[in-house]
Subunit: 213 residues, 2 copies
Amino acid sequence: MINNYTDRYIFVLLNHLVMTKAEKTRQFIVEQTAPIFNTKGYAGTSLNDITEATGLTKGSVYGNFANKDEVALAAFDYNAEKMATAINKAMAEQATMAGKLLVYADLYRALLTNTLHQGGCPLLNTATEADDTHPELRKRVLGAILNWKKHLSALVIKGVESAEFNQKVNPEQVALTMIAMIEGAIMVSRLTENESHWDLIMDSLKKNIKQLS
Amino acid sequence: MINNYTDRYIFVLLNHLVMTKAEKTRQFIVEQTAPIFNTKGYAGTSLNDITEATGLTKGSVYGNFANKDEVALAAFDYNAEKMATAINKAMAEQATMAGKLLVYADLYRALLTNTLHQGGCPLLNTATEADDTHPELRKRVLGAILNWKKHLSALVIKGVESAEFNQKVNPEQVALTMIAMIEGAIMVSRLTENESHWDLIMDSLKKNIKQLS
DNA sequence: CCTAAAATATACCGATTGGTATTTTAAATA
DNA sequence: TATTTAAAATACCAATCGGTATATTTTAGG
């Protein structure tokens, strides 16, 4: 049997599971500002941008975040996780390791047309801005990149173990080369606003992956 | 014979060829601020940064530049030209087309250790910051990248014509892939502060270039 | 429905931003 | 050497920056 105390406890718990008011606005702020931070960068995004995008006041923002830094960090995390989710979903549909690797090439194309993220790849943007200026932010991107590298390496290793790939393949090298080609392709094709540039580079990447067999 | 009028004219001309005072300080400002713009970005560099780096006052800076934009544009041009000069010099020492292509791979390594530029590759930094925010700056990077692409393509075409490379090679694709790999490698290895990452990606690039034959 | 607490808005703060008008200093010409 | 011109420094400007203290509103619990 459930007594009054437990009743109340459960209610509060459920209420918080469904999200408290503050948590809702916190998430709302993150969702609304994440694309702005990704396009204008950390230094280029002002508190005015944040209040404008959310329709909230400075007081409300600072009631949920200690400072601009915290908003930026949360926004980056949101962007990075959004990408990871999309990747994992698309990857689950692929059977072969080569197929899984190519998911990145296909999915990152959405970064060019702003369907996945406004402003391009958050890893590229944040890395180039923060590497020499913002240690905390840099730390997060570093974690995301190393994670990505680990993930790719693991796929290559699996492919080698299952004899899908050649034994001589260096998993770390394949992972790093893929990351470099993808990020470099994003930079070039977003700058030139030419999707065929993306396609040509990804064609090279696909050839490289085929050569792993 | 030279009359007085011509005398004075020549003197003024020579004086200006040797550089007027204003041109000297203009160049001084550009040289001193170029690395700052490259590390902190356009939005992250303030006029205070500029006066601090040069030891000059705001009045002096604005006597030589109309606004912050002009300093940033001149600084970018300076950085880009500095790179182009280094490339051309190193390339002249190479005989084969493959050798000339690999000059990029070797020379850009200096971007990691800050011996060539503080803050990494100005093309990568400026492209990722300005592509959605600063049309003028974006235009300049775009020009530099397209020029680079053209330069690389021309080398590949020459290699094909001289039978050094395979006839089936797509020059534009090779050029774009090289640019992407180099810029992506800079992003990754600067972020991770791991030069072996650079070496592994460049090893992949070298393999790709060897396969052109 | 009333009260306590949480969340948001208002009003303000000093510091810094990019930029300018004016004065002072340095350089060049007559 | 005196005078004109160019360059640089000083002093100032409104606007915006990130941030905070306080007042008001909204939400939840008894």
